[in-house]
Symmetry: C2
Subunit: 78 residues, 2 copies
Amino acid sequence: MSKAVFYHAGCPVCVEAEQQVAKSIDPQKYNVEIVHLGEASGRLAEAETAGVKSVPALVLDGAVFHINHGADLSALKS
Amino acid sequence: MSKAVFYHAGCPVCVEAEQQVAKSIDPQKYNVEIVHLGEASGRLAEAETAGVKSVPALVLDGAVFHINHGADLSALKS
């Protein structure tokens, strides 16, 4: 089983991508985890290390795919 | 069955996204079609009408998701 992590921040662009892209992933192949970086700010460092520059982003087995553009990761740091 | 169309143009960013993102889509839910706009330039108008601005892009039931950035659609027109 491969790992897919979908990072978002609750923005409209993120929610649309979550509903469509994250839900389209094959559950037979991937364990999909959805992380709301606005609520789980403790995981910002993990996202940054993975190479996430903006949200929404999908990390498939370590490869980062930025999907459209909701917010820069830097805007989520307080 | 829903429809997913993955538009790309053979660029390295496109190929990586094709191999990872297009292949992660649940075949139980989506008919996935992969369109190489460099070879199928007759489909540029269709992609543009769908709202595709750059490749690689994934269109899920009519909603466009631009994934990373390989090339602007305008660069593919000759």
